[in-house]
Subunit: 113 residues, 2 copies
DNA sequence: CTTAATACTAAGGATTCTTTAGTTCATGGT
DNA sequence: ACCATGAACTAAAGAATCCTTAGTATTAAG
């Protein structure tokens, strides 16, 4: 994971397996031509190639993760992105407020709670 | 912003201007050769080309945003990523717990607070 | 052992990016 | 107004990367 394109490949594989579909199924659902879907998804998961951003967004939509998840090296941030994608619009709004609140007066115990 | 590579370009420009540096300065700080730094950053900001992920990560480091920020179409999620990058490790840990808590029992008022 | 499904790969044509060598735009000085 | 400077921007060709094709492993079931 410390190397280059393995961030994308590792996240993609985790998300696909979580969804329980094959490489080919993922590719076809993401509107890749059926004759190249398998090869392309495999190349992405093996870190041989990276897709363009349009394709990444379609893969993300199929796998129900934010596209940004594929570009996140930090595991904690990746977990946050997965949590985000599971939230309702209301939950997202609340989380955003919380995030910005946590950032203010970072060490001021008196202002907390 | 609805179009293809304008997600990356718009986020990059916003982050650079927030930092108050020129296109050339950004490129040089991100270890791009000084003779091509200006042209490349301009091409990224105009949506003419996209950098590889290594370059994107160096740009993100200079601009103090998560690399994932450049790949986020949703403005609310982009704001969350900026807030995340401003948090301490402790703040990040707390936010992640909150995000996962918000996801459980989404509509159960009795279990809240 | 055969078959079928899935995963995986090499290689070349197709596409995209980087470099180079500039031009354009904006601002300030004289 | 004119010029100089810094910053933004661009075209084009060489360099790099990806997509398609065709096919080979691998695995599991019968």
């Amino acid at each position: 994971m410390s190397d280059v394109s393995s961030v994308f490949s590792a996240r993609l594989k985790i998300a696909r397996l979580r969804k329980g579909i094959t490489q080919m199924q993922l590719g076809v659902l993401a509107q890749i031509d059926e004759y190249s879907a398998s090869a392309r998804i495999n190349q992405y998961e093996r870190g041989k190639h990276l897709p363009d951003f349009n394709t990444a967004e379609r893969l993300a939509a199929v796998l129900e993760v934010p596209a940004a998840y594929f570009y996140t090296r930090d595991d904690a941030l990746a977990a946050l992105l997965l949590a985000w994608s599971a939230l309702t619009p209301e939950g997202r709004a609340r989380l955003l407020v919380l995030a910005e609140t946590l950032g203010e007066t970072p060490g001021d115990k008196a202002a907390e709670g």
